[in-house]
Amino acid sequence: MKELLLLGAEAIAQGAIDGGMSGVYAYPGTPSTEITEYVQDSELAQSKKIHSQWSANEKTAMEAALGMSYSGKRAMVCMKHVGLNVAADAFMNSAITGINGGLLITVADDPSMHSSQNEQDSRYYGKFAQIPILEPSNQQEAYDMAYFGFRLSEELEVPVMLRITTRLSHSRSGIVRKEEVPTNELSLPKDLKQFILLPSLAKKRYKKLVEARPKFEESSAKSQYNQFFDAPDKKLGIIACGISYNYLMENYPGGCEYPVMKICQYPMPRNRISEFEELVDELLVLEEGYPMIEELLAGYFRKGKKVHGRLDGTLPRMGELNPDLVGKALGFDVPEIEDVPEIVVGRPPSLCVGCGHRDAYSALNVAIEQYGDGHVFADIGCYTLGALPPYEAINSCVDMGASITMAKGAADAGLHPAVAVIGDSTFTHSGMTGLLDAVSENTNITIIISDNLTTAMTGGQHSAAENRLENICEGIGVDPKHIRVIVPHHKNHDLMVEMMKEEFEYPGVSVIIPRRECIQTLARKKRNKVASKRV
């Protein structure tokens, strides 16, 4: 078959489509968004009626995927690393229920925090849930793992995690496809109590999971992705996990002088790792993310053979790896990094010129001035850029939905005004439940839902809030007189300032909705219209 030029994320999507997936469930999040978008745009996926609509958040996505698996079909759920925190309850328990149709949980980590609040390493979650993890080293493996991952999940009877990082997700390479596998037929679990985690039943299921461990290790030991490469110099043995294998080989185009163990499926196969350790004098662990394997192999008291990696300073403790860092760790003469010429200045991201969030912040900064700094709890989205000059309008950005609840806590503590700024998509992701808390106690907060009718930060995906915001707020119990909509535009600046001032002084829950479409999605719609006219 002809090669396709695909991003790592797209390779996973294509692999899953070809591997018999019936549905993908996801909430957008860099660097995972392109997986679902690819399925949405795929004609093949459409012809096979593969589900690909966005979910409201990662938890609902995880649960829907589990429901599809319950029904015997192959499902994938995708998210960025912090999304797994949101989905964690369902995720942890899905390891105990097990699966019926193959279930792949694809999580994209962001070491170096290119577009994230942290660089948490999802392999810990895989270990925590005690399920197998696949970690591709390149785009072809990403395709293959998605393709075979469903079968692996069905063989081992548990969900399987597919862990990638930004670099792999956002890098393109040629992919060779495999033959399409038909989707599964609808079929209920053999044991209709399998998914009932009542304590008495859950204990049995959990025992089954714990006892399956040797089977998982055996699968890793036989895995085509875990490869041993022998070499003459046994002074050092290198364990290279996932994409770090590439950075190693980049330094050894003709082959590595030391024995190498490439690990792309976990749990690590204990027998093979023990044999490897006996073969060599010292170990070097290369892993993208936290020093998880290094810590395991080095042990708390470091009594065994020397283990080098991120913990002993051979590699940096934080941030993503690259060929230079790995080269240095191997003792190569890597050229010192020269400085960027002084004339080059930073170019931080900023809100687009003409963006409605700008007008909302201009008004907010004026309305709040009399109360002083420190009253605004914000959230995650394009509007987080309001933290930077020229606005410097916000005081928090922690996790999705936290603006409303943090404002509530601050109001409970006596802060007035306590203001939350949240986007439409973030509001439906996880702001609604916080609003209910505030309504239940009639907390004195003002919530600004800066509505641009899309999920802009991640590229303009459909927002579940569309046409629903006022109804949701009213349904949750906000007094309709204090749900106020306005077009954020400089001509409405004074009106908006007045509106905000009034609501700050209203002793209860108020919601202000500045609503104007994101100019990027608006421009895209116009372009598409022109394009379709031409066709």
């Binding site: 030029l5 860099t30 290119h114 890098s171 060929p323 890597v334 050229p335 170019r347 809100l351």
Partner: protein
């Protein structure tokens, strides 16, 4: 054959389309490649780059090592300089000359070009002007691609194939404008190379 290329610019300037065309052309030529892009936060007007690695052998790393890039292809002059630590001592800089000033402290034009000119292997391209002459200001990125073409070791037919593949759906007129832009860009670099 092995080429390591950094493509740089500002989020929203569309560097990914340049990268995509070279990628398609390389794949069609039977070469191996990895093409790492920036998506996400910095696409909002921040600095963005793509690492493009093409080789007749297997390409391992998605990222280019320091001092190994054969070419910096930039659609914005200051952004060309940002990646200088990656350029090999005999590598080339091919850059558009139109600054994109979305920051208050953008350097002075004269000082900026003086800094660029310190580099001996330099091609400055007035991509916006050339693109307009070809039919649309939108084709600036393809002018830049053309200017990079002599340094790529990929045949012109393959690059033209890439352009057809990317712009084909927009109609024959758009394709032709872009093919013209490719040629015009190439001529700028060929002149510089001939003068060396």
């Amino acid at each position: 054959m092995k080429k390591d290329i950094i493509i740089s610019g500002v989020g929203g300037q569309g560097i990914l389309s340049i990268s995509a065309i070279i990628g398609i052309a390389a794949l069609e030529s039977g070469l191996n490649l990895k093409q790492s892009e920036v998506h996400g936060m910095s696409q909002r007007g921040g600095d963005v780059q793509a690492n493009l690695r093409i080789s007749s052998d297997e390409v391992y790393s998605d990222l280019i090592s320091h001092k190994r890039a054969d070419l910096i292809l930039s659609v914005e002059p200051m952004e060309a300089l940002r990646y200088l630590p990656f350029l090999s001592p005999d590598g080339w800089i091919v850059t558009n000359i139109t600054p994109y000033k979305n920051i208050p402290n953008y350097p002075d034009d004269e000082a900026l070009f003086a800094e660029l000119k310190k580099h001996p292997n330099l091609v400055l391209v007035d991509a916006d002007k050339i693109a307009k002459e070809c039919g649309t200001a939108r084709a600036g990125n393809i002018v830049m691609l053309g200017a990079a073409a002599p340094f790529l070791d990929i045949s012109n037919e393959m690059l033209e194939f890439g352009i057809r593949k990317i712009f084909g759906r927009k109609g024959e007129d758009i394709v032709n404008i872009n093919l013209k832009a490719l040629k015009a860009g190439r001529e700028v670099s060929e002149k510089v190379i001939a003068g060396k």
